[in-house]
Symmetry: C2
Subunit: 117 residues, 2 copies
Amino acid sequence: MIDTERLDATFHALSDPTRRAILARLAQEGDVAVMDLAEPFAMSQPAISKHLKVLEKAGLVSRGRDAQKRPVHLEAQPLAEATGWLIEYRKYWSAQFGRLDDLLDELQKLEEAAGRN
Amino acid sequence: MIDTERLDATFHALSDPTRRAILARLAQEGDVAVMDLAEPFAMSQPAISKHLKVLEKAGLVSRGRDAQKRPVHLEAQPLAEATGWLIEYRKYWSAQFGRLDDLLDELQKLEEAAGRN
DNA sequence: CCTATAAATAACTATATGGTTTTGTAACCA
DNA sequence: TGGTTACAAAACCATATAGTTATTTATAGG
């Protein structure tokens, strides 16, 4: 996949709150089976499987095998690439953050103030 | 707009290469008129106007007025928010980057190796 | 006033997306 | 062998997206 298509797929995958929630859960809990992933959502199992396909196409998750289960595994490389694209713009959102770690500190304060997503 | 909708709109806006190219150009050149933005693309003016509407909905650009022109201006705040979401995952893509600035150095090496997007 | 320029809007088309229900399949279990 | 679990695949539907061409609106200049 060429670079731009990978970015297309990654940003598209991240544009849906269900998919972001799935990634957040995988980050917290490690590998999770499809039924377990589907449980918190008011949505059918095939709907979740479709979301997983979108994530898989972007390379954001991979699938394993454990008996009947197909555990979903977070693959964070595309997240790094997306971050790499965004990082180019850091100087535009605030000139006062010369060092990236200062920006991170600031972002974390904002997040704490706004509550988690 | 609630936080999750803003992220939806931002990531969706970033999922198209034409729109990313528009943002990149605005970052490089400052405010640009619609015709000038459209020029490099094999695409009609209304198509570009539609892309601008998507970017505007996400808060990524604002519009000015200069005679008949409606200069497009980069608004980087949503990029900061998107980066904030992604930054949460930094520890997953590589444990070796304790400090964010180290990660940035590494990303820049990768970018140089891969060519620009 | 008339005309030109810049851009938005409208109307239309094809394809993609996000969901559904139903059916099929692969692996375990009694 | 037969049933159950976990998931994928198929078929379908409504809406959204990304593009087109044609038209309209707003501003400027002669």
